[in-house]
Symmetry: none
Subunit: 163 residues, 2 copies
DNA sequence: CCGTGGTGCTTGCAATTGCAAACGGGGCGG
DNA sequence: CCGCCCCGTTTGCAATTGCAAGCACCACGG
């Protein structure tokens, strides 16, 4: 793919602009790019950088993501459905935190797996709350307490610590 | 633009690369960019285009969106927490496990914010009173060991999604 | 001792971005 | 008719991207 869908992104921008009933120059001004450059972008003669793309998205008042997807710069994949993928994709976590979360999650899975042998990756939310199914080792919870405690401002509603 | 905000994206990439334990050249090859250019990107001397950014994300096996957010190219309003949604939707977890995971995740988020003071224009309301603890206490990890041991094979090569 | 292979960094250089200026054209008022 | 303001487009040109080649450094082994 040496030549991404630059044409389509241009068409998409022009389409959105015309739909918004604003002139090329107006959008250029709103986006903070020059008029001629926007013209070239819309006709696929130029391959706008990420910054320009973002500014244009702002000027158009549309989602940056929609534009990036159109530009083929983001996999059009749906949001991660399973926990591990979600953790891996979370930019706010450090790699270490990520690994710890994954470890904990997997250990939970193993516990659950022992009593309930179901390895379906895609699952629907279970509101059925059975508060008495997982043993949840003491030492584990003990180690977590300081974090769980500080993370919620005294609003620890869950029985993370139930004698 | 003598000092663009490219620094953070470069640092982020380097961080991710080092945590993935791969060399600059390896990532460059995986991403399909030249080694020197990647070097310059990581040090903030260059402002990579969207395509390059996307390729780097692929090479790092991380979400393109995460990278774009770091680069400030996507409004951060969208990815609040896919992780929590995923956790809630996972039928393999007990309600209790779910809550613990969420607690940990949230505490991690707070830690990261504290230590990683990134230029987030949209900071979530934090209680200014959480000066507790360091990054990730060993005792924490130690407590996890018995559970993590079976799940970790020493290397994070397993991918939940391919291609 | 010197070669080989690894790391990241510096140096020119072609290609491209992105812009200021200018161009052709369509309405409208003097 | 002419000037004026808008539209989108074309044309050079400075600045930047992105790369091939080469540099310095370090560990390992003949």
């Amino acid at each position: 793919m040496a030549l991404p869908k630059v044409g389509s992104i241009g068409e998409y921008i022009r389409e959105q602009r015309q739909q918004a009933k604003i002139s090329l120059r107006q959008l250029a001004a709103a986006a903070g790019v020059s008029n001629p450059y926007l013209s070239q972008i819309e006709r696929g003669l130029r391959k706008p950088s990420a910054e320009i793309l973002n500014q244009i998205a702002k000027g158009l008042r549309i989602s940056s993501q929609a534009l990036y997807v159109q530009a083929g710069l983001i996999e059009d994949r749906e949001p991660p459905s399973d926990v591990i993928t979600a953790i891996r994709a979370d930019a706010h976590l450090s790699e270490r935190q990520r690994q710890v979360l994954i470890d904990i999650y997997e250990s939970f899975r193993k516990e659950k797996h022992a009593e309930d042998e179901q390895t379906s990756q895609n699952a629907r939310p279970r509101h059925d709350s059975d508060p008495d199914d997982g043993p949840l080792p003491e030492e584990f919870l003990a180690a977590l307490e300081p974090y769980a405690a500080t993370s919620r401002n005294g609003d620890v509603t869950q029985e993370t610590k139930e004698g």
